[in-house]
């Protein structure tokens, strides 16, 4: 815990140290310029690896012991198996059996299935999490029960932290639907096929030790090798790496909620009116019900006008795959594959391409794909009058979501947040966001069921849509409407204890989360 705090460029009070490491406060969008050289793992030699390429060991525990697992290490895992992930829980079962303490868990995202790990946070096996904080883990952290401070990063920020050496991964454990004993791996085949393994690509490259775990070990070579065996120390075959029906869960259905459909319809009509949907445009729509139906409405507009998108970034699912196969979208650049149709498509269709956070999101690279997108559709728990947005905490102050690719996508040309004006009496548009995740200068449009607010900076969008007949309002007006219906809510109260830091895409700290006062 820090003793000194200062105000960052977003006006948030930030400590100068977090978990014993100095903090670089957020300096503004595009203001922080990194120095130095990238991090790298030690030089390996073939002397230490079998000539026959067989790196398979008997089990995960043996692999962890051989990888030198000890107290205080940083262990990374990945969320390709989503709600069906068994790998992270197995890793910490092994660590606990070995009596190891104070590990930092560095997942690419966490899910409710990882509530299993609460007992290891309680008994000190895990000291803290650097990753996303979902459901019960978020609650645990917000109540100040985690021993050290959590750190939340975007997918791109996670790659940046690995590449820049902000986080040094001691052991990366990569679960894969298919692998060979040498360590080549992909997520395309086998009972636990999950699609692209993009989130693990950076870990394989930069971690000191890399373990590949699969329930589908095939003889060398495993083709294609999205994870290259030449980075891998040990391979392990287990009975199951994931629960298939939870890997490709049914959450990715187009919403039937009339409110959300209305918001999605308004979003598509706004994009049409603003000229965003044109021949050769590109878009990213997330996997939530509303975002999926936005994609659907885009499809209708494209069919009507005879337009094609050059590429779509995803989050792929059956709806996007249908658009690809119909020729409405020429390429899918896929970061995460949400359903079996997505998995089939990425396996069979050369125009459905696997990507990683390096190519899509990393801010400390020579460009990335996210900033090339014509339009991105994102969610938010709160937006304030300056268009600042929150995606990690709810208005009650509790951490409940990860950042995902959200911050990275803010660099798209047109950033649209379709959100309800309120959720069960909780207004979404506030005077000030509880936690700042995205600066308002990057948020262009907020679309609610009761009106559309365009960021005053975007005079071009205001000009193009002013005669569209769409319900354009000022964001202040939307807030007033919400408060007229719900009442003016009281703000949550916090203690002084900092429980989590929110990193910006460049590794600086944009905000912190404090312990909720109960």
């Amino acid at each position: 815990m820090a003793d000194k705090q200062k105000r960052n460029a977003a006006g948030r009070m930030i400590p100068d140290m977090i978990n014993g490491q100095p903090v670089i406060p957020f300096m503004g969008v595009g203001k922080y310029r990194p120095q130095g050289r990238k991090h790298a793992s030690g030089i390996s030699t073939c002397i230490d690896y079998p000539d026959d390429g067989n790196k398979q060991v008997s089990g995960l525990k043996e692999a962890l012991v051989k990888a030198g697992l000890r107290d205080g290490m940083t262990i990374s895992t990945h969320h390709h198996f989503r709600e069906g992930d068994l790998v992270a829980n197995m890793v910490f079962d092994c660590a606990s059996e070995l009596g190891i303490k104070n590990l930092c868990w560095f997942p690419s995202a966490s899910f409710s299935c990882h509530a299993y790990l609460l007992k290891y946070l309680d008994d000190g096996t895990i000291s803290h999490i650097e990753g996303s904080m979902n459901g019960p883990l978020g609650r645990y952290c917000s109540e100040g029960r985690m021993k050290k401070t959590a750190v939340l990063r975007s997918h791109g920020g996670r790659f940046q932290a690995i590449q820049d050496g902000d986080v040094k991964i001691d052991i990366a454990v990569i679960g894969a639907g298919c692998a060979d004993p040498f360590g080549n791996a992909n997520g395309l085949n086998g009972p636990s096929a999950s699609g692209s393994l993009g989130f693990a690509v950076g870990d394989a490259q930069y971690a000191d030790r890399v373990i590949v775990v699969t329930d589908n070990m095939v003889p060398f070579p495993c083709i294609p090798w999205q994870i290259q065996g030449n980075y891998v120390d040990f391979t392990v075959k287990v009975d199951r790496v994931g629960i298939p029906e939870k890997i490709v869960s049914g959450t990715t259905q187009i919403t039937r909620s009339p409110d959300r459909l209305l918001i999605a319809d308004l979003t598509a009509r706004f994009c049409e009116a603003a000229g965003i949907i044109h021949e050769g445009f590109s878009f990213q729509a997330g996997a939530g019900g509303t975002a999926l139906s936005v994609g659907n409405y885009f499809g209708e507009i494209m069919r009507k006008k005879g337009l094609r998108a050059r590429f779509a970034r995803g989050g792929s699912n059956k709806y996007l795959v249908e658009m690809l196969e119909e020729g409405l979208v020429e390429y899918i650049l896929d970061g995460q594959t949400f359903d079996l149709e997505g998995v089939r498509s990425i396996r069979e269709n050369p125009d459905h391409v696997m990507t990683s956070p390096f190519s899509s999101y990393n801010y400390h690279g020579k460009g990335n794909f996210a900033s090339m997108l014509d339009v991105v559709i994102l969610g938010a728990t709160e937006v304030d009058l300056n268009f600042n947005a929150n995606v990690v905490t709810h208005s009650d102050g509790y951490l409940l979501h990860g950042i995902g690719g959200w911050q990275n996508c803010l660099f798209g040309r047109n950033v649209i947040l379709p959100v309800p004006l309120f959720r069960d009496r909780i207004p979404v548009i506030r005077d000030e966001v509880t936690t700042l995740c995205g600066p308002g200068e990057l948020v262009d449009v907020v679309i609610t069921e009761r009106g559309i607010a365009i960021n005053p900076r975007r005079t071009d969008l205001i000009g193009k849509t002013k005669d569209s007949g769409l319900p354009l309002k000022k964001i202040e007006q939307l807030k007033e409407e919400a408060e007229a219906i719900c009442g003016v809510p009281r703000k949550p109260e916090f203690t002084d204890k900092i429980v989590a830091a929110i990193k910006w895409v460049d590794g600086t700290v944009i905000d912190v989360v404090r312990q909720v006062k109960r």
Partner: protein, 401 residues
């Protein structure tokens, strides 16, 4: 005796469950279990205390299980438990939203009317945003018999406090005579139109009309009536019903009950109800009011709905009921004049205007003589097309859209 009102449990949102134990223990005890307690707990408690004060209750245990209910819902639920306990007609009223004070015209557009269950506040809050012409707060079939009493308070409060963005505010009362009691709760509170269910005689309309007149007293407002014909007897007396009061502005048909009365299955093709629908249409048109078609109950089948709407329009109906917001756009879309109708109406209107200007007695378009009723229909079509945005208001200059 413990009194309860409202709903809770899995899947319940924007509602609350209240239980009141009168006279037990000392003073007032209020316990609030709510996921928005940290945001609104203080204001919820203030509302409770104000209501206890209003009703002069000094001893009670009140338990609130809240899932994000808005004040109009909380107040309705609390009033329901208090009035179950006290024998009073005293009403605890929240202020009326100024934008809810409006009258509708007898011939206002009634293409789409959305039915909302009268005891489900969640569906009321956003009901006005989908662009339907009318919103029906239903006290009849969609409310469980055990919940009829508390629903009246909720419907009354919704009429006062929920912004329906200009939609006509309608209430379907219960079948008479119970429905007459419903009127006490809704008539003084910004309702525009009352639907009379299972109507099969003009006397029923007269009873409702008289009760409304009595409640309104000196107030110079009109509450319109829309009887719903739901049995063979009603069909046979449709014309009398349509003319039973000058406040009757529309007449609807309810085919679920009608087909049950005939002892036949309701089919998608609807041959079995063709006569009844034609009777309602002709009776209504003869009486100068709007005939309204029955609801279509498969909320996932938009294509069949669209076919049904087109048929409904071609038979002569002026509108149709909706049971899900997703049906509204389909109904509006297909009831409005289509392109060929608008084209024809434009030609006729131009010819008519030319004839007027030149002082000609006859109107001719495409070398055919046009009768006045056809001209009138064309003018109406143009008006509808312009109003709905299907035709530019300056279409004479822009030569079309």
């Amino acid at each position: 005796m413990i009194h309860t009102a409202g709903n809770n449990g899995e899947g319940v949102r924007s509602d609350c469950h209240i239980s009141l134990t009168p006279d037990s223990g000392q003073g007032i005890s209020i316990s609030i279990h709510s996921k928005v307690k940290w945001m609104y707990g203080g204001s919820i408690e203030m509302l409770c205390r104000d209501m206890f004060h209003f009703y002069g209750i000094e001893k009670a245990v009140l338990e609130i299980d809240d899932s994000g209910a808005l004040p109009f819902t909380l107040a309705a639920r609390i009033e329901a438990v208090i009035r179950k306990h006290l024998d009073t007609t005293l009403e605890y009223l929240l202020p009326v939203l100024p934008q809810n004070i409006y009258q509708t015209a007898p011939d206002t557009e009634r293409i789409s009317r959305l039915y909302l269950p009268g005891n489900n506040p969640k569906l009321m809050i956003n009901a006005g945003i989908y662009g339907c012409h009318g919103i029906i707060l239903d006290l009849e079939d969609s409310v469980h018999p055990g919940k009829k009493y508390e629903a009246r308070f909720l419907v009354r409060n919704a009429l006062r406090s929920v912004d329906f963005y200009g939609a006509e505010r309608m209430v379907r009362i219960n079948q008479l005579p119970e429905g007459l009691k419903d009127l006490d709760f809704v008539i003084p509170h910004q309702v525009n139109l009352i639907l009379i269910p299972k109507c099969d005689s003009p006397e029923q309309v007269a009873l409702v009309d008289a009760k409304i007149t009595e409640i309104l007293g000196e107030k110079n407002t009109s509450v319109w009536l829309m009887p719903i014909i739901e049995n063979a007897a009603g069909v046979m007396r449709a014309f009398e019903i349509a003319r039973a009061s000058e406040n009757v502005v529309a007449m609807a048909i309810g085919l679920e009950d009608y087909t049950a009365d005939l002892g036949v299955q309701r089919t998608v093709a609807g041959k079995e109800s063709f006569f009844a629908r034609s009777m309602v249409i002709n009776a209504a048109r003869a009486a100068g009011i709007q005939p309204i078609d029955s609801v279509f109950s498969d909320i996932d089948d938009m294509e069949t709905l669209a076919e049904r709407v087109r048929e409904s329009k071609s038979l002569g109906f002026a509108g149709m009921g909706c049971i899900h917001p997703r049906q509204i756009a389909v109904i509006n879309e297909n009831f409005l004049p289509d392109e060929s109708e608008i084209d024809r109406a434009r030609k006729i209107t131009l010819a008519y205007e030319k004839a007027e200007k030149e002082g000609l007695g006859v109107v001719a378009a495409d070398s055919k003589l046009i009768d006045m009723p056809v001209v009138n229909r064309a003018l109406k079509t143009i008006e509808k097309a312009v109003k709905s945005g299907r035709l530019n208001i300056n279409w004479r200059e822009t030569n079309g859209r």
